[in-house]
């Protein structure tokens, strides 16, 4: 376990955007000392915001204690508290924000609100060594192709309706699949897709640089119900179509920006098929492909802590009276002065 060097500065990061409650201690040099987490598992259906928030409140003490313990850092050694301020589910965000405000004022340290999407990109860069990537961020709640340009992470393409992960989750539930701890719906679909052989035609919807998944979802569920193919075939086809859409938009952004890396993050980043497709376009454009390891690609406290450290380092902080959560906070609304300075 890392030794507690009292000269070092530490940030506590709290993440509570959706179904994960995470807390992590990260040093100002970028060492992730702990990354504790507890995921809300609904008995059936999707995430109920109020129930998830109740879960977060219940586990917060345990998760925070674990974060301090694993890092061998005492609360009084914390120099900064960062929390995810949005975008996400209101009740969940508020639970994390409340804990962050209370801790910051009790410890008498600055508070910094972090944009969840910025957190994903920054921790991805830290852990893969990417310097200036085109990022494909795909999760249950977000589907964004982004790259840094003139002070901000610009959105080159995004979903017009539901997120990629949401599409996979709803499909999996509709066809009667079960998720388990350690094997979310995406992984279950991927496993079945590997056994699929026949391609079932499904709608491919790319509009300019943006994507749409809702029609694809409906068509995939119907293809299963109408027995246009086996479940394995439908899973295979759904993945092929959805991931080709993502890859096409990422390639366009890459061709346009000529960036040196392609960064894949978010919960769907674990998918091997998607990774292999992005590898192809990265190779063709002479870019390095970087997939963020799962523990840091899914929602986690470390990414919030690290993005908080970066923002604080360029003089940004969030006074308590301005720390309202922002459920629709867009990535490109965030001014990111720390990026060019490094």
């Amino acid at each position: 376990m890392p030794a507690n060097n009292s000269a070092e500065s530490y940030c506590l990061g709290i993440e509570s955007t959706a179904d994960d409650f995470g807390a992590a201690v990260v040093s100002f040099e970028g060492k992730v000392l702990s990354n504790a987490n507890d995921t809300y598992m609904p008995k059936q259906g999707g995430i109920h915001p109020r129930e998830a928030a109740r879960h977060h409140a219940e586990v917060s003490e345990k998760v925070l204690a674990e974060a301090f313990e694993k890092a061998s850092v005492k609360p009084k050694d914390i120099n900064l508290v960062a929390f995810s301020q949005g975008p996400g589910l209101g009740p969940c965000l508020r639970t994390g924000a409340t804990a962050a405000r209370a801790l910051a004022s009790y410890l008498d340290v600055p508070l910094v609100g972090v944009n969840h999407c910025v957190g994903h990109i920054e921790i991805g860069k830290l852990v893969t060594g990417a310097t200036d990537p085109v990022t494909l961020y795909v999760s249950g709640g977000n589907t964004i192709v982004s790259a840094f340009e003139a002070g901000r992470y610009r959105i080159f393409g995004e979903t017009l309706d539901i997120a990629m992960g949401n599409c996979l989750d709803v499909f999996a539930r509709a066809v009667g699949l079960q998720q388990r701890r350690g094997a979310p719906f995406g992984a279950v679909v991927e496993e079945l897709a590997r056994k699929g052989k026949n391609f079932v035609s499904l709608p491919y919807v790319v509009k300019g640089m943006d994507l749409s998944f809702s029609g694809l979802l409906t068509a995939a569920v119907q293809a299963f119900q109408l027995k246009k193919g086996s479940l394995e075939d439908v899973c295979f086809s759904l993945q092929e179509v959805a991931f080709s859409m993502l890859t096409e938009v990422t390639e366009r952004a890459l061709a346009h920006t000529q960036k040196p890396e392609v960064l894949l993050t978010g919960g769907v980043a674990a998918n091997k098929k998607l990774q292999s497709m992005l590898q192809v376009i990265a190779d063709e454009h002479g870019a390095r492909f970087c997939a963020v390891p799962l523990k840091l690609a899914t929602d986690n406290g470390a990414m919030i802590a690290w993005a908080g450290i970066l923002a604080y380092g360029s003089g940004l902080s969030t006074p308590v009276e301005k720390s309202f959560v922002n459920v629709k906070w867009r990535l490109e609304d965030v001014y990111a002065p720390w990026v060019e300075g490094r």
Binding site: R154, F199, Y204, E240, S244, T247, R252, M277, L278, V280
Partner: protein, 212 residues
């Protein structure tokens, strides 16, 4: 076969076809997707684009003549339009000619929108000024059909940004002329609505001083 332009989705070649100078637009296979899906996407787009080029003609907007559509190979053979890209011309003509050219461009965009055609890539390199003073619109690869205000605003917003980046010396008066030509096609009421939408779109992002 001379490669004129390599895009992320399609490439343009200059070719001779039955003694004619033609443009061949090829949508090449993508290695990352399975052949069935790849063929479906390429052939759908190869059919979609000539459709919209034809619709534009019906709306009274000059576009290249389509000679052949090879759906199986995802190739379109079309007229090579003689003339100069508006991009090269705009800064090198008299002020009077510049404004009348912009007004004409606006009038053509208005005709497209009035007929529910969104070009999707309105840059001055996608407009060709012929020796006869016509402006021919090319590259309908990103086009779509819509009668809503939002995509019309997005369409013209791109036009405005192109003027600001590639023709910054005259951007302001040029865009004003574009919008006056546009109003002639769609009517003042509609033009006002679209202008308001463009302002709306500008405020959404980027480096707008009055937002800071």
């Amino acid at each position: 076969m001379v490669l004129l332009k390599k895009g992320a989705e399609a490439s343009l070649y200059l070719e001779t076809w039955h003694n004619r100078k033609v443009i061949m637009k090829r949508r090449l296979p993508k290695k990352y997707r399975i052949p069935e899906l790849d063929l479906m996407i390429r052939s759908q787009r190869t059919m979609h684009e000539p459709h919209l080029i034809h619709n534009a003609k019906e709306a009274g907007v000059p576009t290249p003549t389509i000679f052949m559509v090879d759906v199986a190979d995802a190739n379109i053979i079309m007229e090579f339009v003689e003339g100069k890209q508006v991009k090269e011309v705009l800064d090198n003509v008299s002020a009077e000619e510049r404004l009348s050219l912009c007004s004409l461009i606006g009038e053509m965009i208005g005709r497209l929108h009035k007929h529910g055609i969104i070009h999707g890539d309105l840059t001055t390199s996608n407009m060709i000024l012929t020796p006869y003073g016509k402006v021919v619109f090319v590259d309908f690869g990103l086009s779509e059909r819509s009668v809503e205000i939002e995509p019309k605003g997005v369409d013209l917003h791109l036009m405005k940004r192109t003027l600001q980046s590639s023709h910054y010396k005259h951007a302001k008066e040029c865009f004003k002329a574009v919008m006056s030509g546009y109003a002639e096609s769609v009517g003042t009421e509609e033009a006002k609505k679209v202008t308001a939408k463009i302002r709306d779109i500008e405020k959404r992002g980027r480096y707008v001083a009055d937002r800071e």
